[in-house]
């Protein structure tokens, strides 16, 4: 049994895929294309950050509300800022607060009302989508603050801001997971809630905090995504929902909980985005793109997505 970290495998895989693409499509391999793919992966990676925490927390943990919360984050930023860079701070505050509040309700429902995470967050996704519809009535006035667009798409040393932000988040997540009490307790809770509780961990508190963070990070992802897409629509975040889970799993975080890393998720996001971009560049028709993507995803999952036999 090899003990290579899953994150490294996924990263190597994405690099290998990139050069493999060069064999099929010589004009695919160049620096600009590589940067473009990493930038696309950045949004998936940022949105999958909270998902990583939730999945590590175990107990069938999963957050199906991230798609709706991403959309909400983008729409709130669009409406509150109204395109004004001065109001971006206000938008950021509201977006983070609303995202955290949604996550908090998820966490409370899961921990205290004992609704299974999958169902609770799925229901919450419906409530958030419904609220967006009821409030906006399909008509969303607002604008994209120039400062946000500059932050996300502006280049420094040839690299777009989104990639710096992603790297920063990566460091922050590493610090939280490896160097804080919350991180240690999160893994303990993921491995076994009973033993965690016996050794003095406030299990309910950790789980509620985790879902709160997931909501907050998804909303932040929505804000940043707006800087990239420059427009909002009701299904903006939905397309990121299941890829966010797939990125976590491909990156070696076990769905049963207790084991994983955000670097793995980052590598997973890279692999998924790489595969998609490659398939799109090959012009083989949507049907075959879907078939090949599905097949590759199954293969990727079989590399590190295998579950331990439950004892």
């Amino acid at each position: 049994m090899s003990r290579v970290p899953p994150a490294a495998v996924a990263l190597l895989l994405s690099v290998a895929l990139f050069f493999l693409a060069g064999l099929v499509q010589p004009n695919f391999v160049n620096a600009a294309q590589a940067i473009n793919i990493v930038r696309l992966a950045a949004f998936l990676g940022i949105i999958a950050a909270g998902q990583t925490l939730v999945i590590i927390s175990g107990g069938e943990g999963i957050d199906l509300s991230v798609g709706a919360v991403v959309t909400l984050g983008a729409i709130l930023t669009f409406m509150i800022s109204g395109g004004s860079s001065e109001r971006l701070w206000l938008a950021l505050l509201v977006v983070l607060a609303v995202g955290a509040a949604i996550g908090l309700v998820n966490g409370l429902g899961i921990v205290f009302v004992r609704i299974p995470p999958l169902v609770m967050t799925l229901g919450m996704a419906g409530v958030v989508q419904g609220t967006i519809l009821a409030v906006t009535r399909g008509n969303i006035p607002g604008g994209v603050p120039r400062a946000l667009a500059n932050l996300v798409t502006g280049r420094f040393l040839g690299v777009p801001g989104a990639i710096y932000l992603w790297a920063l988040l990566g460091l922050l997540m590493w610090f939280v997971l490896q160097r804080t009490r919350y991180g240690r307790e999160l893994f303990a809770v993921g491995v076994n809630r009973r033993t965690a509780a016996l050794s003095g961990v406030n299990v309910s508190g950790v789980v509620v905090l985790t879902y709160t963070l997931s909501g907050l990070l998804a909303a932040l992802g929505g804000l940043l995504l707006l800087g990239f897409t420059q427009r909002v629509f009701l299904t903006l975040g939905e397309t990121y929902l299941f890829p966010s889970i797939a990125a976590v799993v491909v990156g070696g975080t076990v769905l049963a909980g207790g084991r994983g890393s955000y670097f793995g998720t980052m590598a997973g996001a890279l692999v998924l985005t790489m595969t998609e971009s490659l398939l799109r560049s090959m012009r083989i028709g949507e049907a075959y793109q879907m078939i090949v993507f599905g097949a590759i995803l199954v293969v990727l999952l079989s590399v590190y997505g295998r579950q331990r036999e439950r004892e």
């Binding site: 919450m124 419906g126 409530v127 009535r137 078939i291 993507f293 599905g294």
Partner: protein, 319 residues
Amino acid sequence: MRPSSAWLRNHTYLVPLVLLVVAVALNYYFQPNFFQPRVLNGNLRVMLPLMVLAAGQALVIIAGGIDLSVGAMVSLVNVLLVTLVTRESGPPEVLLAVGAALLVGAAAGAVNGLCVAYLRLQPIVTTYATSFLFSGVALAVLPRPGGALPRALTTFYRSAPLGVPATAYGIALLLLLWVVLRRTRFVQYLYAVGGNAAAARASGVRVAFTRFLSYVTMGLFAALSAMMLTLSTGSGNSRLGDAMTLPSIVAVVLGGTRLAGGQGGVVGAVIGVAVLTIIRNLITFSNVPTWYQTLFDAVVILLALAGPGIVQLIRGRRA
């Protein structure tokens, strides 16, 4: 544990049954012609395909799995059916198409079963991945929506032999099938594997094979569901089933089956679908403004799902 709660656990469909009665009563209040054959028939036509699908989903969930590819399987079988059958087809072609549909459904289920049971991949992400496979094949088979069934078939689906809607016979058959299945060793094994895989293995159950079969059965149910849906819509669309995946899971949970596995049943899932559909109806008929309908729908469903937990929370406090 008091005997009453143990009894409740063995009859998990009772809570959803109460929900159903309330929902039907409300629906009757807002729509007095609810019980007229024409209206009832219309409702049942919408419900039946999802009921069949949720029944399959319940079996997978009881065995400790989950299947996010069911919608894609329904789409795949739907496009297959309209490709093999035209408006002029006779009984031989139709029978052939039904056989092919069941075969393809079982094969798709076998792909899922192979990945989950034998390769031990995680069900949620695996079936999400295979849903791309199935959707892709569906799109390749039928790039543009279209196709038609023989008029006689679609008319039969809307008919009411002996004054009872054909779809009601369908639901009765589905429940009857469950009554028969529930006594089989296969379904007993599903409960054993979903409840405690290690104990099941120790007592000689072939755990992986049972899991594999649960997905194959799901594929067959998806094929049946697609047949009903195709009879209902009368045409093909490679995305037709997509929107059925999440409702199939919600219906199972509404029906009192826990996602952890080992418990629950098909009756609850069937009732769950009825509740879901009637909630939609209610929202249309109770004059909720259009823009609020999605929100209302989601809140009601979330409350229905949270209901048992909230009751338990209050009870726990008192004890």
